[in-house]
């Protein structure tokens, strides 16, 4: 079946450092979404990428969708303690349901 992998599984950074998580799908995706889950909370939608090669920014967060529409990345510039949480990508293969990646848990040390 379809698989969506994410690396790294965990990342510990010092506040102010940058952070990147990578998402890879075994199949071509119609779109990819990113969600953030704070400790003790539920996943909250961040963004959706649809076009090949698309890049979107939200303040310190930069999201990219690969040319082949099989991979994506989320980059956070100058992390803050409020960035702590688990970041999930969710791939949507054509005509099928979401496939969530296992997530990357980010810890930010003050």
């Amino acid at each position: 079946g379809q698989q969506v992998m994410q690396i790294p599984q965990y990342q510990h950074v010092q506040e102010g450092e940058d952070f990147t998580t990578y998402c890879n799908s075994s199949t071509t995706l119609s779109n990819i979404q990113w969600y953030k889950q704070r400790p003790g909370g539920h996943p909250v939608f961040l963004i959706q990428l649809v076009k090949s090669g698309e890049v979107k920014k939200q303040k310190r967060l930069t999201f990219q969708f690969g040319e082949a529409k099989k991979n994506s990345s989320l980059h956070i510039t100058a992390t803050q303690t409020t960035d702590v949480g688990t970041y999930f990508c969710a791939g949507v293969p054509y005509g099928q349901n979401f496939v969530f990646g296992p997530g990357t848990r980010l810890s930010v040390l003050p």
Partner: protein, 113 residues
């Protein structure tokens, strides 16, 4: 604001019991989903529904069933709970076609003893 509510935040049941998890959304969304979340495995889709009285199996439907009698409500049923069903259960809803953003409920942490 989209609101997805789940009947319980924490639930403790015994092996063999029948368990009902309820989910209600107030945004008239067509689509509703049940996931379970386990460490290192992310969110795995159990069942989903695109319309009232309609249901489709997700990736891990074994041991579960669902009911959608009204558009706003989607219930997950564990016919005979087992210890390997101890998990966090998340309900989500979305509007319209497949692939739209999902809105999640707060989750129910179920422990089966």
């Amino acid at each position: 604001d989209v609101k997805v509510t789940q009947s319980s935040r924490y639930l403790v049941k015994r092996t063999g019991e029948k368990v009902f998890l309820e989910c209600v959304q107030d945004m008239d969304h067509e689509n509703m989903f049940w996931y379970r979340q386990d460490p290192g495995l992310g969110l795995r889709l159990i069942y989903f529904s695109y319309d009232v009285k309609m249901k489709e199996k997700g990736d891990i439907p074994e041991g579960y069933s669902v009911s959608r009698e009204k558009k706003e409500r989607f219930s997950l049923i564990l016919e005979s709970a087992s210890t390997n069903q101890t998990s966090m259960y998340l309900c989500a809803s979305s509007l319209g076609r497949r692939g739209n953003e999902q809105f999640f409920g707060p989750g129910t942490r179920l422990t089966v003893l």
